[in-house]
Structures are given as C-alpha cells and as structure tokens.
C-alpha cells in the first residue's frame, strides 16, 4: 500500500489537475467535489478581478473553468492574473477588463512564477486598449479600451 502522503497527493491531483480519481473513491462524488471547488475558486477570483469576470459576462464561468480545471490554485490574485494574461496574449481579453489588468501590471511586478511584488518605480502599462500609469503607488487610467 502506498503512503498516506502519496495518496493525498493523488487525490489533490484528481481534484485540481485533471488526474484520474484514485482507486476506491466514489468517482461521482469526487467529481461533484471537483466542480464545487472550481465554482468556489471562480467566486474568489471574481472578487479579486471584478472587471475581468464582469467583462466576460455569461462566458466568465466557462472561460474560467476551462482554464482552471488543470491548474491548481496559486491564490485568487495570481489565478486571475494568469488567466487575464493568457486571454490578452490570445487577443481575447475583453476591452472592459483591460484597465484592471494594466493597473495590476503597473502596480506590481509579476514574473508568473513567484508571488507579485510592489513596484518601487513608476510604470506605464497597457492591456486590451487601456493604458494606465502608476506613480508612487497611485494609479491613473490614461485611456480606457
């Protein structure tokens, strides 16, 4: 028999990364839990990224769950950030969500791998037609997409 640590890791992988449900579990109930978890994360990310969720409208949950189904959470700030960047790279970020992403990019540096850190220097950033300037931690939207 494998160790408890191993079996806990297999269960987390099934719930967060699209791995197979470990043997012996009720696959239907684990699937219910997986979907409930995605829904809970969606709510948390929507609170952290309100313009992103609102701009995607009825497509928000579909976009979110397609993206998040195989990505374990790195916290709702980074989850929303990663998704917004990916949409921006595919030119699918709605204009209504541009200023929010640009503002985050202007306030913090984020390499996509380690937690975001506050910028010390002024910055100008743009996304989906919006342009934002940050000076001394204060943000001004220069243009809204």
């Amino acid at each position: 028999m494998t160790s408890l640590a191993q079996r806990q890791a297999e269960l987390v992988a099934a719930l967060t990364a699209g791995a197979a449900v470990p043997p012996g579990f009720d696959a239907r109930l684990v699937e219910v839990a997986r979907v409930a978890l995605l829904r809970k994360r969606a709510g948390e990310v929507a609170r952290q990224w309100p313009e992103l969720a609102q701009a995607l409208g009825t497509g928000w949950y579909r976009q979110w769950s397609a993206w998040a189904a195989t990505r374990p959470t790195r916290g709702s700030l980074r989850d929303g950030w990663d998704l917004a960047r990916e949409l921006a790279a595919r030119r699918e970020l709605p204009a209504g969500a541009g200023a929010e992403l640009a503002a985050r990019e202007a306030i913090m540096t984020y390499d996509g791998e380690t937690p975001p850190r506050a910028r010390r220097m002024p910055a100008v950033r743009g996304a989906a037609g919006s342009v934002v300037v940050q000076i001394a931690g204060r943000v001004r939207v220069l243009r809204r997409g």
Binding site: S3, L4, A5, R7, Q8, A9, L11, V12, A13, L15, T16, A17, P23, G24, F25, D26, L29, V30, V32, A33, A36, L37, K40, R41, G43, R47, P72, T73, R74
Partner: protein, 272 residues
C-alpha cells in the same frame, strides 16, 4: 473556556460595519490567515477586541490532516495572531489543504484510519507546542469519503481529541450536511462525541445542487440546522455559537434575523 459568550459571528471585512454595531456581541472569529502577525490589524477588528469581544483566530491553511508535518511558519503566524488579538483560544480543521506541494484550494477530508489519526495527532501536538492558548479542532463537511476508513466519525474524533487534549469546534451545518448526504442521522453523532469538550459551534447556510447538499456559507441557514442547535443545547449547551457567512452577504436585517434565530434555538440572549 467556561464563560458563556452566547451568540457570535464570523468577522469578515465586508460585514465589519454590521458586526461593529451589534450591541450584545461578546464573541467573534476571524480567519487567521487574513490578519497580519505584526502589521496593522484589519479596520474594525482592534475596536472589537478593545470593547471586550473575544476574537478567535480561525486557521484555514495549516493542513493539520496532511501526512507531511505542519509548516512551522504557519504555526508561528497563528500563535502570533492569537497573542495580538488576546484570543482565549484558536481553531483549525481536521482536514488537509495541500499535498505534494500542490494547493487543493479547499478543506479535504482525511481518511478515518489509524495512520491518519497518528498524522493529525502529531500535527496538532506540533501546533500546541507553539501556542499559549488552547486549540479547538473542527470536523469538516466532506462530499466524499476515503475507501480505507477504519473508524466511524465519532470514534475518529474522540480519539484525536483524547490524544491531543484539544477542544472541539463543532459545526452543526457540517454535521447536517454529512448526515444528509450519507443518509444517516445527524443526532447520532451528537451522542458519539464528547460534547463537554465543545469550545464553540459554527452555524452556516448551504444549498442543494443535483441532490447533494453543499455547505456553501453563502446561503441562508436552513431550519434543520437551527433544529440541530436546539437538540445540541438540550444535551449540553456550548459556551458560544456563531454564524459563519463567507460571501453573497445579505442585507443587515437578514443577518440580524439569522443571529436572532441562533439565539432562539440555543436559548442565549439576542445580541442584535
């Protein structure tokens, strides 16, 4: 904790203004990870503490049920927050939230096996070694069970509490959800766990989706959960019972009505 605090509420920034205006409030809980160990306290929380409300840090990320040892920095943070708030106790869950370096994003059940009991007990003891106040452990609502359960819920909890000397944080909504989803009697568990060890009680709402009851904390508290409070208090009334709401916050009148319903069900005075 022998003082009767009565009806309390989970403090959240979104309802901080509402909580501040509850005249009779003597008990509140705050998510431990949302409080800085040394920086400013969230607005309103210090005021609550200063007016004599007991504020209990409630950890959600310790992962006491993980097979791996609890992370020392997380324990240190919990202990520091307890000291800052002058808390009479802290609480955490009998659950794991990460494994193999991956965050689950939610509280997951541990198997009710001897091996898992040993893991939980070891992590609780590691945590207690850093704390200057007691810890209360909360059994979670789980949508599924492990295939290798050896103990029933009552025996599992009792053994963990006895071996750690920890207090119990009983969530009546979790008891209700687990029983409803498994077709068992929620009252049966009340007869199987040491009720005199209850430090306080969580009360929360939920919703049914596809025939399964979800403990959402974003819906109204259903009547059967209130009935469970009355049943519990007729056996042994715990020192405090508190409403847990974590989103989709309703109007103040609705929150007040829920607090009053908890007071009515438990026999404690209203705090609104």
């Amino acid at each position: 904790m022998t003082i009767g605090y009565g009806v309390g509420i989970g403090w959240r920034p979104e309802i901080g203004g509402f909580v501040a205006q509850l005249p009779g409030l003597r008990f509140a809980e705050v998510v431990a990870e949302s409080v800085h160990a040394h920086g400013d306290l969230p607005v309103g929380l210090g005021e609550l503490r200063d007016r004599g409300v007991a504020v209990v840090p409630h950890g959600v990320r310790l992962s006491l049920g993980g097979a791996e040892p609890v992370e020392p920095a997380r324990v240190t943070h919990l202990a520091a927050v307890a000291e800052r708030l002058g808390a009479p106790l802290v609480s955490e869950h009998i659950a794991f939230v990460r494994a193999g370096g991956v965050e689950a994003g939610h509280l997951l059940p541990v198997p009710r096996s001897r091996e898992a009991v040993d893991a939980v007990v070891a992590n609780v003891k590691r945590t207690q070694a850093e704390l200057s106040v007691p810890i209360a452990l909360e059994p979670i609502a789980a949508l599924f069970d492990w295939p290798d359960d050896e103990l029933d819920e009552g025996a599992f909890l009792t053994e963990i509490l006895e071996r750690t000397d920890a207090l119990l944080l009983l969530d009546v909504a979790n008891v209700y959800a687990n029983a409803l989803n498994r077709g068992t009697d929620p009252l049966a568990l009340l007869d199987r766990v040491p009720l005199e060890r209850i430090a306080y009680v969580h009360v929360a709402g939920g919703a049914e989706r596809d025939g399964i009851y979800h403990d959402t904390h974003t819906d109204a508290v259903p009547q059967p959960v209130l009935d469970l409070i009355t049943e519990l208090c007729s056996r042994h009334r715990p020192p405090a019972l508190m409403l847990e709401r974590d989103g989709d916050y309703p109007a103040a009148a609705e929150l007040r009505a829920e607090l009053d319903a908890i007071a009515a069900a438990s026999g404690y005075p209203v705090v609104t």
